[in-house]
């Protein structure tokens, strides 16, 4: 049973903003719109950045982010803190929604969306510590991807950001499926090592 509307606004937003994501998700599960608002504010930029990278247009990225956060609102009960952070969960939803959106798009639009060089950035002027750390982290990850041999980074980008399946990539690149899978595996392994060395992911 959701919390009655009259009870939803009792806690000042300042109090909520100091709480951990996982605690906020417990409130979201009970229908707390203010807690949802804090979750949105914390993760909307990473969500939008990923959606924009995948969809290539601002309108499509906005639709994907909206769908993803509404899905989070409706299925918050499915969030399991033992399986990862809220940010990871949000980005997983955005990734899936963006793939759905790309697969709905026509071939031309989709191909364009996976192309490089359509970067129309509208970055924030603000330079908070968190923003700065996020930018550094993103730069490290892109560097690890850029360091890969081109044929490996290409298949990873087409799959993860372009939403293409391995068989579609094999067709696009006129390369056997086995080779595509092999490049994915080698590229991901190498990225894993570089990201471990950079301290972006934990060694395991």
């Amino acid at each position: 049973m959701p919390m009655p509307l009259s009870l939803r606004h009792r806690e000042p937003a300042g109090g909520l903003r100091e709480r951990a994501d996982e605690d906020l998700m417990a409130l979201v599960r009970r229908g707390d719109v203010r807690a949802f608002e804090v979750i949105y504010d914390r993760h909307c930029n990473v969500a939008f950045s990923l959606a924009y990278r995948m969809c290539g247009t601002r309108g499509a990225a906005e639709d994907v982010v909206q769908e993803a956060f509404l899905s989070l609102w409706r299925s918050s009960a499915r969030y399991d803190r033992t399986r990862g952070s809220v940010r990871t969960w949000v980005l997983g939803i955005v990734h899936n929604r963006a793939i759905d959106s790309l697969r709905r798009a026509t071939g031309h639009d989709r191909h364009r969306a996976s192309d490089e060089g359509i970067e129309e950035r509208f970055e924030s002027g603000e330079r908070t510590d968190i923003e700065a750390a996020r930018r550094d982290e993103a730069r490290e990850i892109r560097a690890a991807l850029d360091e890969l041999p081109a044929e490996q980074s290409r298949v990873i980008e087409l799959a993860f950001y372009g939403g293409y399946s391995h068989s579609e990539i094999a067709d696009l690149l006129d390369t056997p499926i086995g080779t595509v899978k092999g490049r994915m595996r080698l590229g991901m392994e190498k990225m894993r090592h570089s990201l471990e060395a950079a301290g972006v992911v934990v060694a395991g």
Binding site: M1, S49, Q66, T88, F122, F160, H166, R185
Partner: protein, 237 residues
């Protein structure tokens, strides 16, 4: 039947989302019994999670925040309208006798829905068979409202028949989507429920190759992409 080595080769494609639905399902099944592939996927998952963050940073537009929060408030209003009574068991009966406060807007929307709502199936145009449809219970809304749905097929025409559906809230209208090949596609069938909570709506294009007929509540005029999880999912599977 794939070998362990073949599954091992699929792990990277799996975390990148590049396997087909059936391949991904087969790998998941294999992982239940294979700790080594399971660990490999967990290791590579950390890289795909990093890829999600390794994109040029952007700032989400301020108007998007408004859109998302408006939609959440709308859904909350929809739920509050459906669960207006403290006891869910009585909420539905009460709701059917005394439709939501949004009835005036809903009635206006109904006119719009009928105007746009595609064809009406002529009686006697061939044999009709009724396909019992399951309604996926997905939220507190379902628990309180408990709508039922069935699909009717007459020749090449299909109809969705719904009962126990409250009038759409003010400023909203129900939209029918058809799911084919795993994708929900919009239709121009917009409708509202009667004051008795029922609706019979033609499914544009019929039911051929359709996996499920979905209903969402959208802003007047409908949407091209669903803005919410389906309120009704009448599956033909």
């Amino acid at each position: 039947m794939s070998t362990h080595e073949e599954f091992r080769d699929d792990c990277a494609a799996y975390v990148l989302g590049a396997l087909s639905v059936s391949e991904a399902g087969a790998l998941r099944e294999h992982m239940e019994a294979c700790a080594s592939c399971s660990a490999e996927v967990a290791r590579l998952r950390a890289v795909s999670e990093a890829l999600a963050l390794g994109v040029p940073p952007r700032i989400a537009p301020a108007e998007l925040r408004r859109r998302v929060l408006d939609a959440v408030e709308d859904e909350t209003a929809l739920l509050a309208a459906a669960t207006g009574e403290p006891r869910p068991a009585t909420a539905r009966r009460r709701f059917l006798l005394r439709p939501a406060a949004g009835l005036a807007g809903g009635a206006a929307a109904l006119g719009l829905g009928l105007a746009l709502g595609a064809l009406v199936i002529a009686p006697g145009s061939g044999s009709t068979h009724v396909i019992a449809a399951s309604v996926a219970p997905a939220s507190a809304w379902h628990a309180a409202v408990a709508p039922t749905a069935s699909l009717r097929e007459t020749g090449t025409n299909g109809e969705l028949v719904v009962h126990g559906l409250p009038a759409a809230p003010a400023g909203r209208i129900y939209e029918i989507w058809v799911e084919r090949g795993g994708l929900a596609r919009p239709t121009d069938a917009l409708f509202n429920a009667t004051s008795q909570g029922s609706a019979t709506v033609a499914v544009p294009g019929g039911l051929r190759d359709v996996a499920a007929v979905l209903v969402t509540a959208e802003r007047l005029g409908g949407a091209k992409v669903p803005t919410m999880a389906p309120l009704i999912r009448a599956s033909l599977g």
